[in-house]
């Protein structure tokens, strides 16, 4: 696009001219340029210069036609011929001195004469520097008459008044654009009339007129009309291709093409700018098709191809620039000529531009070779220049000052064109174009098109000798062809790459590319190719040739290549060349190794079989001199020597290794070479085959990564071939499951590990688990015991959520320590012996044990929660003293241990017998839920603590006590017998309950009572050893449980039932009911006493009494028992009116034993005791 002149590339701007008063020129021209649409200004400082417009040469264009467009016509209209001319007069010239006025009039006259011939519009600008200058209407009218302009075309400017100046400049711009559009319209109409009259002598003139009309339309921004006339000009031009005979044939075609190019460019630009992408693309296609066949004379075809190339390039550039503005387009699929999406991509055009440019180059080379000596061409070309007409060339003849243009013959022109063409390096241009296309396609992820561009680009680089760039591009596109299996394309690319590496002298790459080529699946000729590139024709013969060349090269012992092609490469002495073949390498085709162990796991020292299979796709059988199979355990490496070439095996340093000899190591094309050997390893762990090295000749090695048959990836290109697929092994099971590595197991342990645990563990106690290591055939060196405690359900032995009661020890089960065998103390342990204990993990080293010895330790484990755990103990040791052999042998044992709660503590409160306080809150609670207990104030309450053995073992109890909480400052109650120890540890058998009675009383006037913590000391009953062990040698387990806080309140009423401890049948006794009012208020009490069957009763059944404050009311009844045995007393119930609280005594307190006759007690005291104890148990 850059080769086009500026005036063609940009839309034309209106041109206005101002004359005189140069001080204002820059102000006016800047303002006009900033208008919308902008106006260019052609400023003349003085009136004398206006004759510039007058130099129009009046050629009678109809008579002598020499060209279609003048080269400078458009430029002239854009920069020299204004549409409007505005003289600027200072106001004092207009309204002042008559001498000035006269001068002004003459200036105006001269302007008028100049512009009349061209129809240029006139406007007058008066500059009024002083606002108070007088303005004479007469002079104004005179001026308008003189200038023959309307009143509105006379503008007054005042440069000193900013606000007014702005306004007048705007009106100036408006008037200019109005006049300009009138000018261009009239000019256009004038020329249009010429076309419409149909009396135009030649079609060339029609083309010219149409072009002019279109340009004038463009000046007025009438794009539709411009487009219409450009198209008309274009079509008219196309019609005269075969008709006109004005010029010699070659030049005629050149001129027509140049003009059509200009017209086409204009049309495309207009279409694209108005967003009509589809139309533009369609138009381009028509343009291309219309001129594609107009190749012209055979000696000048390169001109045609160059022109074609330029069409594509320019359109591509136009499309690219417009694509920024018009993003979305929808291809219209018309039925007749569908457009493909591809025609919307600029890259497509660049690609084709490059293609035509290479056509041009070929044609040009032909033309050069056909023409005579080059010096002659040059001297001819010297004086040829572009003529005044577009697309024409002429010889410049200088005779003194006189310059003359002479027309030239076709032959001269061709020579000129050839010499011009030789000046350009087309390769660089082609590379640039292909690169543009390549990058554009790549950015759109259009890989294959991009690759084709890359291929062309690489070819150009290659011919240019830019090997590095060529290689880089070829490498990148080769991978795509490899991936998709386009063998013929890959072949060609590899051919170039091979040549590149040959030129660079990189022997390794040369070998890689050559071998890959030789191994490609090409069987028969795909057709004779003329343009084959350096690869040569893709066929079997060529593959064989390449392979031979490579193997000749590597087998040259001396390093002097006899082949002249390969003389670039030199082996320096002793240097070896190794090609790596891994899973992704394209050289897998060349050689590929599959390794399978016949067993997945072996014992150390026992042998198993290993099969190594090699496959090669090279066309000629390859003789391998030596194979080396390498493992991760280098002791196992195997060397396989070819018996036919024995001298090569004697490489130093391999004597210690295993060397096998086979009669022949030849790899036939596409046939597996299978070798099976036995192998054994003494070292446990993984035995992995790493690589298989094939040595060919003295210096050349192919290193194949070993692959498992089970996870064998098929060879990329050969799988697509229609040939029988072979497998690396004959054994069908191994083919599916064979692995290139095997597991060497460790030795069987000959050591026993015992874990003994006696029954379940109890929460709180330190539980001992003895661990015994017993050697049975192995010495134990550097033994190590690992202990792990694991939750049976899985998961850790720790839960942060419910850690409240045991906040200090967050683990539910804890490994406290490991005590060594008897007599061994921790301090005596060697410093290098490890002993590490964490809460659920322990590590301890054990001393050297001879065969038959044993060693014991004890694990101390403490449970904080009842929980089953799994105890894992593992022993690792080496059976040999040898330091180097660090093969550990492992023994594992595990044991599940239950954790149980030993003792469950309970407690409850009791009131004194037959004495009931009215506790208001308790009544309320009865309705809701009995959450916490309430005790009466100032009253003694009995607290019974019971401890129940929940285990299946007898336990010994040392003490039950209630201790005050540490965090409470003072005790809020007094507890009797709180810290009294049992005289002798009590035995509790499984299921038995042990009780202890405390009495609690509180006289502080508080609402909450903190009772403290129950503390229990116990241990397991040691059975027979109990007597001896009781002397505090064995530790007592302390168990604590906090007593809940209780409420205390003052009961307003206390009811006391008084009756004798027993009654005798028929013997009357008195039953007192005392109602004690503890309040300061008078209490009204309703009571009732129900009849009982066993008693005769005297007294009120129902009544209401008033109990005075702080006093007691006593109800007394006489009762006569009628039946013996335990009998229910008459039921007493009472309601406190004030508190609306009813009271009923509990059942046990409401019965009495009736003897049939007066009993004879031996001892009154014992009777008393019995009755009390009965009460206590209840």
């Amino acid at each position: 696009m850059e080769e086009y002149p500026e005036e063609l590339r940009t839309p034309p701007l209106t041109l206005a001219s101002i004359v005189g008063y140069p001080e204002l020129h820059s102000l006016i021209s800047t303002h006009l340029l900033s208008c919308q649409p902008p106006i260019n200004t052609f400023a003349l400082p003085h009136f004398s210069k206006i004759n510039l417009f007058n130099n129009k040469s009046h050629h009678p264009s109809t008579t002598l036609l020499t060209g279609i467009f003048k080269r400078d016509w458009l430029l002239k209209h854009r920069s020299q011929i204004p549409s409007v001319l505005a003289p600027i007069f200072p106001s004092q010239h207009v309204f002042g001195d008559p001498s000035h006025w006269l001068q002004l009039c003459s200036d105006l006259d001269s302007i008028k004469t100049v512009i009349r011939g061209r129809n240029i519009k006139l406007a007058v600008v008066i500059v009024q520097t002083n606002a108070h200058d007088e303005v004479s209407d007469d002079r104004m009218i005179a001026l308008r008459k003189r200038a023959e302009v309307d009143a509105k075309y006379v503008i007054t400017l005042n440069p000193n008044d900013n606000s007014e100046l702005k306004q007048s400049l705007n009106s100036l711009a408006n008037i200019f654009s109005e006049l300009a559009s009138a000018y261009y319209r009239e000019e256009g109409r004038r020329i249009k009339q010429r076309i419409e009259k149909k009396n135009v002598s030649s079609p060339e003139l029609i083309v010219r007129y149409c072009f002019k009309v279109a340009v004038y339309a463009e000046f007025r921004s009438d794009w539709a009309e411009a487009l219409k006339f450009y198209e008309e000009a274009y079509h008219t031009l196309r019609e005269i291709v075969g008709v006109t005979t004005r010029l010699p044939a070659v030049q005629r075609l050149v001129e027509i093409k140049s003009i059509s190019e200009q017209l086409h460019f204009k049309i495309s630009t207009l279409l694209l700018h108005s967003g009509k992408v589809t139309e533009a693309v369609t138009w381009f296609r028509q343009h291309k098709n219309a001129y594609k066949r107009l190749v012209g004379a055979p000696e000048a075809t390169f001109i045609h191809w160059e022109w074609m190339s330029r069409q594509f390039l320019v359109f591509g550039e136009l499309l690219e620039t417009s694509a920024v503005t018009t993003q979305s387009f929808s291809p219209v699929i018309s039925a007749s000529k569908p457009l493909s999406d591809w025609e919307y991509y600029p890259a497509y055009y660049y690609q084709l531009a490059a293609h035509y440019l290479s056509e041009k180059r070929a044609a040009l080379e032909l033309a050069i070779s056909m023409s005579e000596t080059s010096s002659e061409i040059d001297c001819v070309a010297d004086s040829v220049v572009p003529s005044v007409y577009v697309g024409q060339f002429a010889r410049l003849l200088e005779q003194g000052d006189n310059v003359e243009m002479l027309s030239i013959t076709d032959e001269e022109y061709t020579r000129y064109a050839v010499s011009e063409g030789r000046r350009f390096r087309d390769s660089l241009e082609i590379i640039a174009l292909q690169k543009k296309a390549y990058e554009s396609y790549s950015s759109m992820k259009i890989e294959r098109m991009g690759s084709y561009c890359g291929f062309q680009m690489g070819k150009e680089y290659f011919t240019e000798g830019d090997i590095d760039n060529a290689k880089q591009i070829f490498d990148s596109i080769a991978s795509l062809y490899r991936k998709e299996g386009w063998v013929t394309l890959l072949w060609d690319v590899l051919g170039y790459l091979r040549e590149c590496s040959r030129k660079n002298g990189t022997i390794k790459e040369f070998l890689e590319y050559s071998l890959e080529m030789a191994a490609l699946p090409i069987k028969s000729d795909i057709g004779v190719q003329r343009d084959t590139g350096p690869a040569g024709p893709a066929n079997l013969l060529q593959r064989e040739t390449i392979q031979k060349e490579v193997f000749d090269l590597v087998s040259e012992a001396s390093g002097l290549a006899t082949n002249e092609k390969l003389s670039n490469f030199k082996f320096t002495g002793g240097e070896s060349l190794q090609l790596e073949v891994d899973l992704v390498s394209p050289l897998r085709l060349v050689m590929f190794a599959s390794v399978a162990f016949h067993e997945q796991a072996i014992k150390p020292g026992t042998s198993t079989l290993i099969t190594v299979s090699l496959l090669c796709h090279l066309p000629i059988t390859v003789e391998i001199d030596q194979l080396e199979i390498q493992f991760n355990q280098s002791d196992c490496n195997i060397f396989i020597a070819n018996a036919q070439k024995p001298q090569l095996v004697e490489v130093s340093g391999i004597q210690q290794h295993r060397v096998e000899t086979v009669p022949s190591l030849s790899l036939e094309s596409n046939k597996w070479l299978r070798l099976t050997y036995d192998i054994k390893s003494d070292q446990s762990g993984k035995l992995d085959c790493l690589v298989v090295l094939a040595k060919i000749g003295r210096h050349f090695t192919i290193c194949c990564r070993a692959e498992s048959p089970a996870s064998l990836e098929s060879l990329p290109l050969w799988t697509l071939e229609d040939s029988v697929q072979t497998v690396p092994l004959k054994d069908p099971v191994l083919v599916l499951s064979g692995q290139k590595s095997t597991q060497v197991e460790e030795q069987d342990p000959r050591v026993d590990l015992h874990l003994d645990a006696s029954g379940p563990a109890l929460v709180g106690e330190i539980f001992m688990v003895p661990v015994t290591v017993l050697s049975k055939g192995h010495d134990v060196y550097s033994g190590e015991l690992k202990i792990n405690l694991v939750d049976v359900k899985g998961g850790v032995l720790f839960s942060p959520r419910d850690s409240e009661p045991y906040s200090t020890d967050s683990h539910h089960v804890e490994l406290l320590g490991i005590s060594g065998p008897e007599g061994e103390d921790d301090s005596q342990l060697d410093p290098d012996k490890i002993k590490k204990i964490q809460q659920s993990f322990g590590l301890i080293s054990i001393p050297f044990l001879k065969n038959g010895d044993s060693w014991t330790c004890k694990l101390e484990i403490k449970w904080h929660r009842p929980k089953p755990i799994m105890l894992y103990v593992s022993l690792g040791y080496t059976p040999y003293r040898d330091e180097s052999n660090t093969q550990m042998v492992h023994v594992h044992k595990n044991l599940q241990i239950e954790g149980q709660t030993a003792i469950v503590l309970n407690h409850h409160f009791l009131m004194p017998f037959r004495r009931d306080p009215l506790l208001l809150s308790r009544n309320k609670q009865a309705l809701e839920s009995d959450q916490s207990q309430t005790l009466p104030l100032n009253q003694k309450t009995v607290l019974i603590v019971s401890a129940k053995n929940c285990t299946e073992l007898p336990l010994r109890l040392k003490s039950i006590s209630i201790e005050a909480d540490d965090d409470v400052g003072e005790r809020t109650c007094s507890i009797q017998h709180a810290n009294v120890e049992l005289s002798e540890p009590a035995l509790i058998v499984p299921g038995q309950e042990f009780k202890k009675v405390f009495s609690v009383s509180s006289d502080l006037n508080i609402s909450k009572l903190r009772l403290g913590t129950m503390v229990l000391r116990w241990r397991r009953d040691l059975g027979v050893g109990e007597k001896s062990a009781s002397a505090a040698t064995s530790s007592w387990v302390m168990m604590k449980q906090k007593l809940p806080d209780t409420n205390v309140e003052l009961p307003p009423l206390i009811v006391n039932l008084e009756c004798p401890p027993y009654a005798i049948l028929g013997d009357p006794f008195t039953y007192y009911i005392r109602i004690l009012n503890q309040t300061q208020l008078l209490q009204e009490v309703k009571y009732s006493l129900e009849d009982a069957q066993s008693f005769v009763l005297s007294g009120h059944h129902n009544d209401t009494v008033h109990v005075l404050p702080k006093s007691e009311h006593i109800l007394s009844y006489k009762l006569v028992p009628l039946a013996s045995g335990i009998q229910q007393l008459p039921r007493f119930s009472m309601t406190s009116v004030r508190y609306s609280a009813a009271y009923q005594p509990s059942n046990p307190s409401n019965s009495v034993f009736v003897f049939p006759s007066k009993p004879q007690f031996k001892n009154a005291a014992s009777t008393n005791f019995r009755v009390e104890s009965v009460a206590a148990i209840e």
């Binding site: 999406d341 497509y348 299996g485 013929t488 394309l489 795909i526």
Partner: protein, 143 residues
């Protein structure tokens, strides 16, 4: 005149490619067929852009390149047929007809019990049949 036909597999690998031209531009035709796969991909991935092409095996003109026109056809098993012609004026109906016959020949070739799906087609019968179809291309419209 048809100068090249090709069958392209799932991985965009060539299964069959045959050129019918005296000029030695077989390699170039391979390139053109390979490039046309980009267009097929684009068509298949953006069916909206190309209008009512959904469920249509015939892909129409893929792209014009130099003097060639490339047409495409996509079978239900996602095997692509590519046709390269030098004719300037090709009728869609002719191309459709060609592809229909070519498809039939392909189906017969891969139905051979000895043919492994996904491998190159080497059947001689197929080659002969394709040559016949190629030779008769456009004749129906002419006659």
């Amino acid at each position: 005149m048809i100068i090249c036909v090709a069958v392209v597999g799932h991985q965009n690998n060539p299964l069959f490619i045959q050129s019918f031209t005296e000029a030695d531009d077989a390699l170039k035709l391979h390139h053109i067929v390979h490039c046309s796969l980009d267009v097929v991909d684009e068509r298949v991935n953006n069916p909206k852009k190309s209008g009512s092409m959904i469920n249509e095996t015939f892909l129409g003109l893929l792209y014009p390149f130099e003097n060639y026109k490339v047409y495409g056809y996509l079978t239900n098993t996602k095997v692509k047929f590519i046709l390269v012609t030098t004719d300037l004026d090709v009728r869609d109906a002719d191309v459709r007809n060609f592809f229909r016959r070519f498809h039939a020949a392909y189906v017969d070739a891969v139905s051979n019990p000895f043919h492994v799906p996904g491998k190159k087609i080497t059947s001689k019968t197929f080659v002969e049949r394709v040559s016949t179809i190629v030779k008769s291309f456009g004749l129906s419209s002419a006659g």
